[in-house]
Amino acid sequence: MAVLSRRRRAFTLAGVAALAFAVTGCGSSDNSGSSDTSKPECAPYAQYKVDKKKTVSIYATIRDAEADKLESSWKQFSDCTNIKIDYEGTGEFEAQIKVRVDGGNAPDIAVFPQPGLLATFVKSGKLKEAPAPVKANVEKNWSKDWAAYTTIDGKLYGAPLGANVKSYVWYSPQLFKEKNYQIPQSWDEMIALSNKMVADGIKPWCVGIESGEATGWPATDWVEDIMLRDQGPEVYDQWVNHQIPFNDPKVVSAVDRAGSILKNPKYVNAGFGDVKSIATTSFQEAGLPVKDKKCGMHRQANFFSNQWPKGTKVAEDGDVFAFYFPSIDPAKGKPVLVGGEFPAAFSDRDEVVKVQTYLSSPEWANSRAKLGDWFSANKGLDLSALANPIDKLSAQILQDPKTVIRFDGSDQMPGAVGSGSFWKGMTDWINGKSTTDTLNFIESSWPK
């Protein structure tokens, strides 16, 4: 019955479609001749040019305003090379990419925010190795650390795209000036400042970890940043690679230290309610009370600069700015937690290789940087192209060989933990679960 009616519906559809064609008299109207690829501004793109109009699909997590800037960053490339880039940004990337790949509908290029997820597709043999020109660009323009995130079994699978620095605390320079607060240089100074704010009747911290299916990730960033400070980079690496268990006393210590702020009802949650409101406050709005001076500090990556309402001045003397999330023992150096995206290809068609190559070039990085609120660890990036002071600061930190850089840990863990039980566990932890129970749960979910 169901089969029959579906078939009948198919006939109806076919009929309607046929009618539509008959009425509109549609043939394929060839309008590809419109773009003039021999214009002078097209000269730099000569090496990428293809003869016939081609389309390359890109699937990524970048949406809204950032996606618009991304699309305009490669507009000229597109116009000059005959390669049309079909961009799709999604909030469900982590789940949908597997559905699309398994369903035989893989995008040409997928931009992975998690090296761990990228590795899963390498292991299942779906991703293509990076082509020679991309390899050359990576060797020339990125540090070994960055190349290592997409190198699996000695083979490179893609160049980094954008980067972000996560070890920032957003604050209101005006509020700090009014109350004569100093930017804390160590963890203890930061706690002392928090207590001072409490005494002045200001809630010192605002936090939000709600992010749809990815709810919990901002809390994992807190833990990673503190893990890096509380235990040092070596233990951090052991933890990320599961050489020490997830419920190791060292991890318990770091999570409890995070709890001394996140679960302290005197400190949180400025503008939103009690400790538990952290779980239901979206990460996009969590920092906004800082601008209204209702909240003292908000720990979030540099990309939060995209969230401020229009007209907010992001600068050291502006409405909002960020300071470096201080280390516990400044003598041990400045650890920095970073994140980034990595385009990797499911296809090795000529035009796909060309887009990949262009995206790994300094030319593209500068084209994107000019549009604002973005930077990359690409050494060819022209720092003077960065308009936003926070981007400039971040790019300087990334290019400085002395900083101890570590990539977001949850993004390197297996999907079941890094985008599963770690997020979920931290959400339950905010909602009242004990540190030990939470870490035991996460440890039990680590794939054997």
Binding site: G216, T280, P447
Partner: protein, 326 residues
């Protein structure tokens, strides 16, 4: 934007050709069946008509089902045989046990309450003055997608701290009554009940429509005879209405039960499975598509299938008994 319909045409043509080819094969098959020689004609007819459907069922249902069962005995990457380990996992962790408890809460409350509410409403508005309007009011949630209604209810449950203006209806009412605003979706297991309300809101309309039609189909002689005998409204409901529509009530309960066992959208939109509100179908999706564990995902799918099977068997049986008794 720069959407160009002509780009899509090249993709539509192959589809049209495929549909046309399919139609041609079917028409050809029917013609061949028609001119077949007399002997053995019946058998060929059965094969010719059932064949295509059987093949489609085989490809679309039976083979995937067997493959799912097969995969449920293997590990995450479907490489090594692990026996019943994936099934054991379902019953060995607090988190998965909570998931089973939640699924049970859903299956107990949604079918019974939606059917009860739908039935009560159907009886109350039957032959009332504005029956049409009254019925469309409760039927309307059915027209909204599960995700849409979950978002609507999320706004109703929305929480803001005391100092702020409430944006959620529920908490605003609490504030008017002089109570503290409350985080509704955070505390297990009561938060599951708040999600269940969403499903009942949707399904009650479905129950009402089917049961209302069944009530209208009760032969008027029976109703008149009962009235002549002087029944009260109470007796009328329990002795006449309910027994007459019993088969419809069973069908409604079964249909809603199956829909509830598969509940996914409401949980995903409402809480994302956080705060101990996870259910079977959502965990199956998580394991298979987010955690890349095809073994556990398949085991959960098979378990869900086993739970639905008895209901389907019962339904088929009652259906068969009814057709036989006629």
């Amino acid at each position: 934007m720069d959407y160009d319909f002509s780009d899509d045409i090249q993709k539509i043509w192959p589809m049209l050709i495929a549909v046309g080819a399919f139609a041609a094969v079917i028409v050809g098959l029917l013609l061949v069946l028609d001119v077949l020689p007399r002997w053995g004609r019946h058998r060929w007819h059965v094969l010719g008509f059932l064949g295509p459907a059987m093949i489609l069922l085989l490809i679309g249902l039976i083979i995937p089902a067997i493959r799912t069962i097969y995969l449920s005995f293997f590990d995450a990457g479907s490489q090594n045989f692990v026996g019943l380990e994936n099934y054991g996992w379902i019953f060995q962790h607090t988190e998965t046990l909570h998931m089973l408890r939640n699924t049970l809460l859903w299956v107990v409350f949604v079918p019974t309450l939606s059917t009860a509410i739908g039935l009560l409403y159907a009886v109350l508005v039957d032959k009332a003055r504005f029956e049409g309007i009254a019925k469309s009011l409760i039927f309307m949630p059915m027209a909204i997608s599960l995700v849409g209604s979950s978002i609507i209810w999320k706004f109703i449950y929305a929480y803001r701290s005391e100092e702020q203006d409430q944006i959620g209806l529920f908490n605003q009412i609490r504030v008017w009554l002089g109570l503290q605003p409350k985080q509704l979706l955070l505390d297990p297991p009561i938060n599951t009940l708040y999600l269940i309300v969403i499903m009942i809101w949707i399904q009650a309309g479905f129950a009402m429509v089917i049961l209302s039609a069944a009530i209208k189909a009760i032969p008027s002689e029976i109703v008149e005879a009962a009235k002549l005998d002087g029944v009260t409204a109470w007796q009328m409901f329990w002795r006449v209405t309910l027994p007459s529509i019993r088969p419809s009530v069973v069908v409604v309960i079964m249909t809603i039960t199956i829909a509830t066992l598969k509940v996914f959208d409401v949980v995903r939109t409402g809480t994302g499975g956080q705060f101990d509100t996870n259910v079977l179908a959502f965990e199956m999706y998580n394991q298979a598509f987010r955690y890349f564990d095809d073994g556990k995902g398949s085991a959960l799918a098979v378990f869900l299938f086993l739970l639905v099977v008895p209901i389907v068997i019962y339904q088929v049986r009652t259906l068969r008994q009814r057709t036989e008794s006629r």
